[in-house]
Amino acid sequence: MNKLKIPAVLVLAYLVLPLAVNGNDYVVSLIVAALTIGGIALAWSMLGNLGGMVSFGHAAFFGIGSYASALLTIKAGWPVLVSMLFAGLVAAASSIATMPALRLRGPYFALSILAYAEIFRIIATEWKGLTGGAAGILSIPRLPEIMGIDLGGKIGGYFVVVTLVIAMVGIYAVIRRSPQGLALKAMHDSEDATRVVGVNATMLKALMLVVSAFFAGLMGAFNAHYINFLEPDYAFSGSWTTLAIVAAIFGGYRTLWGPLIGALVVYLVDQLVFKAILPQGHQIILGALLGAMVLFSPTGLTPLIAKLTRLQRKETANAAH
C-alpha cells in the first residue's frame, strides 16, 4: 500500500490536478499560494518535529530568500532558477547568525527567532541602496520558459512550487529515517536524555536550523518571482510564520505530509468555501474550525484521518469474520 502512495501523489500532483484546474487561473493561483505556505509549514515542522524547536521567526528566512533571489536576478543578471537555489543558500547562511539562540529553549528560543526576523526586516528597510528600502522592488523577473513550458504562467508556477514541496517532503523523509533524524526525534521528547547517550544535540539542532532556513528561503525566492513584487513589510511579514504554524498544527506537524495537507485544506477551504459564504470576516469560521481541531484532535488532521481509516478497516475486517 505504501509503495503505491508515492506514484499516486505524483500522478495527482502532475497529472490529475493540473488537468482538473487548468484554465481556472483563480483556483490555480490559490493552490500555488497554499503550496507556498505549505512549503514554509514543512520547513517550520522540520525544526519543530526534529529537534523540538518552536520558531516564531521563519518569515526572516522567507524574506531573506525573497530578497536574495530578486536582487541576484535584477542587479547581477543571474538566471531566475539559479538565483532561487542560491537564495536558499543565502537564507541557510543567514541562519548561522541566529545560532546563538540555540542555547535557548521553548518560548525563549521562539521569541529570540522572532527578534531576528524583525532585525532582518529593519535591515531590508534601511539598506535602501541595495533593497530599495520601504519602497520595495516592483517588476521582479518572472520564472522563465523551459522546453516550451512557461513557468511564469499560472500552471507553470504550479509545476515549480509543487516540484519544490515534493522535493522538500522527500528530503524530509530521508532525514527522518536517518540515524540523525532518529536522534532529533528523540530530542523532541527529551533533549537531556539524548545528550546522556552521547548525541551532539547542539550540532544536530544547528544543522536542522540550516536545512529549515534553506527551505523557507527557497519558498521566499519562488514567491518573489511568482508575485513579481517585494517590500520589507510584505517579505518579512509575521503572517508567513503564523499561517505556516496554523497549517502545520492543523495538518499534524509531526507527520510527513501533515503540514502540506494542512496548508492546502486551511487556505483553500477558507478562500473557496468560507469566503463565498461570508465575504468579509470569513476568517472567523476558520478560527472556530482550528479551535475545534486543536481540542478534538491535537495531533492534527493527518493522524485523525489515519486513525479513522484504521478504525474503518478494523470494522470491515470484523464484519468479514
Partner: protein, 387 residues
C-alpha cells in the same frame, strides 16, 4: 392563431430585448481591501465606485455596467487571486486597489490578461514607470507635493521642517518638497521616522530647539499625524503653521481629535460641510447621501472619478467593438475631462499630469478650502497652531 402569433412575437421581442440588454451590460471588476489594515480606506473607495455605477446606469440607456467586487484582504497575493477570479467571471476591466504594494502585483496580473486597471489608491512614482499599457491612475505624489508647496509659497514661508514616514509614497512627497522648496530658497530640514514610531517627542524636541522652522510638514498617515500633533502640543514649538497630506483635513479627524486639529492644514478635495458647486458634483453628493446616508469623503470622490472615466471609456470601446482588444485603454488615453477633482487626462505612462490637490484647514469643526484661490471656500488662518 393570431393570438398565438402575437404572443410568440412578443416573446421573441422580449428575448431579443433581454439579449440586447445583456450584451450591452459591461462587467467591471473591483479588487479592493474590505478587510485587513486597509479596510477603512478600501470601503470608502468602494462606496464611490458603487455611486459611479448607479449614476452611469441611470444616465446611459444604451450601456449599463455591473461592478463585481472582491475583497483582497489587504494582501498582495490575494489581490492577484482576486483579479484572476474577477477575470474568470468575465470582467473587462478593473477599478479599485489601495496601497502601492498591492496595486503593483494586482495591476501586473491585469496587464498579463491585457485588461485595463484604473486606481487612485497608490501614488508611488514607480507604479507608472513599469511600462504597463493598461495601467492608469488619476492622482500621484506630485499632486500632493504641489498643493503643499503652493500653499507655503502663498504664505511666504521661509523655513520648513519635514517629518516623514519611510514608506515609499511618503518619502517621495518629502523628497519632492525638499527639492522644490530648496530651489525656491526655502530652508528645508528633513526628519525621517520608521512607520512603527509612536513617540514623536524626540523629533519635535529637536525641531523646537535646533531647526526652529516657520512651518512643520507631516508626511505620514493618520496615526502619525496624531502622534506628531500630541508631541507638538506638549512641547509647543514656536511655529506659524503645521500641515500634512492625505487623511488629515477630514471631518473624521476633527470628530476624533478636536483638541489636536484646529488650524492644521492638509490636502483635501472638498470642504466640510461639503460645498458642491457643479451639477455633476451635486448629483454625486445627492446619490452618495441617498445610498449611504452620509456625506462623501475624498476617497469616495476618487473612487467615483476613476470609475466614471472607466465606464465611459468601456462604453466607447464597446461601441467601437474593441472592448476585448485593448480598446478600453485606448479610449481612456483619449479622454481629457473636467471632473469633481479637476482636470484629468492620461500621459503615455497612464499617469495624470494635471493632478493637483487642494489644501483644506481645520477651522472650528469645519474644513475650509484655503488653496488654490480659485477653489478656496474661505480665508486661511495664519499663523495658527492647535496649541
Amino acid at each position: 392563431m393570431s393570438k398565438f402569433a402575437s404572443v410568440s412575437a412578443l416573446a421573441v421581442f422580449a428575448v431579443l430585448a433581454a439579449s440586447t440588454a445583456w450584451s450591452a451590460e459591461i462587467k467591471i471588476g473591483s479588487q479592493i481591501p474590505k478587510t485587513g489594515n486597509l479596510a477603512r480606506v478600501g470601503g470608502a473607495m468602494s462606496e464611490g465606485i458603487a455611486v459611479a455605477a448607479e449614476m452611469f446606469n441611470k444616465k446611459n440607456g444604451k450601456h449599463t455596467v455591473s461592478v463585481l467586487t472582491m475583497d483582497d484582504e489587504s494582501s498582495p497575493a490575494k489581490a492577484v487571486a482576486a483579479v484572476e477570479k474577477l477575470a474568470s467571471d468575465g470582467v473587462v476591466a478593473f477599478t479599485g486597489g489601495y496601497g502601492s504594494n498591492i496595486i503593483g502585483p494586482a495591476s501586473e496580473a491585469a496587464e498579463k490578461m491585457n485588461k485595463t486597471y484604473i486606481t487612485s489608491g497608490g501614488v508611488a512614482t514607480e507604479l507608472t514607470k513599469r511600462g504597463l499599457k493598461n495601467f492608469f491612475r488619476i492622482n500621484n505624489s506630485e499632486g500632493y507635493a504641489r498643493a503643499l508647496i503652493g500653499m507655503y509659497t502663498e504664505l511666504g514661508i521661509k523655513s520648513v521642517t519635514v517629518i516623514y514616514s519611510t514608506k515609499e509614497a511618503t518619502e517621495e512627497v518629502a523628497k519632492m518638497l525638499e527639492k522644490t522648496l530648496s530651489a525656491k530658497g526655502v530652508k528645508v530640514t528633513l526628519h525621517a521616522f520608521d512607520p512603527s514610531t509612536t513617540d514623536f517627542k524626540p523629533i519635535v524636541h529637536k525641531i523646537k530647539l535646533q531647526d526652529r522652522p516657520e512651518a512643520i510638514a507631516m508626511i505620514g498617515y493618520e496615526n502619525d499625524y496624531v502622534g506628531i500633533l500630541r508631541a507638538a502640543k506638549v512641547l509647543k514649538p514656536d511655529i506659524k503653521n503645521i500641515s500634512g497630506v492625505w487623511s488629515l483635513a477630514t471631518s473624521k479627524m476633527w470628530s476624533e481629535f478636536p483638541d489636536l486639529m484646529n488650524g492644521v492644514a492638509g490636502t483635501s478635495t472638498l470642504s466640510y460641510p461639503a460645498e458642491f458647486t457643479t451639477p455633476e458634483a451635486k448629483e454625486f453628493a445627492e446619490t452618495y447621501q441617498r445610498m449611504y446616508n452620509k456625506a462623501p469623503d475624498y476617497l469616495g470622490i476618487f473612487g467615483y472619478v476613476q470609475s466614471m472615466m472607466l465606464f465611459q471609456a468601456a462604453a466607447k470601446a464597446q461601441d467601437a467593438g474593441t472592448i476585448d482588444k485593448g480598446g478600453i485603454s485606448e479610449e481612456l488615453r483619449k479622454l481629457d475631462v473636467q471632473t469633481v477633482i479637476g482636470r484629468v487626462r492620461f500621459d503615455q505612462d497612464g499617469d495624470n499630469p494635471e493632478f493637483t490637490h487642494r489644501m483644506g484647514q481645520h477651522q472650528d469643526g469645519k474644513v475650509v478650502l484655503v488653496w488654490p484661490a480659485d477653489a478656496a471656500t474661505g480665508k486661511m488662518n495664519f499663523p495658527a497652531v492647535p496649541w
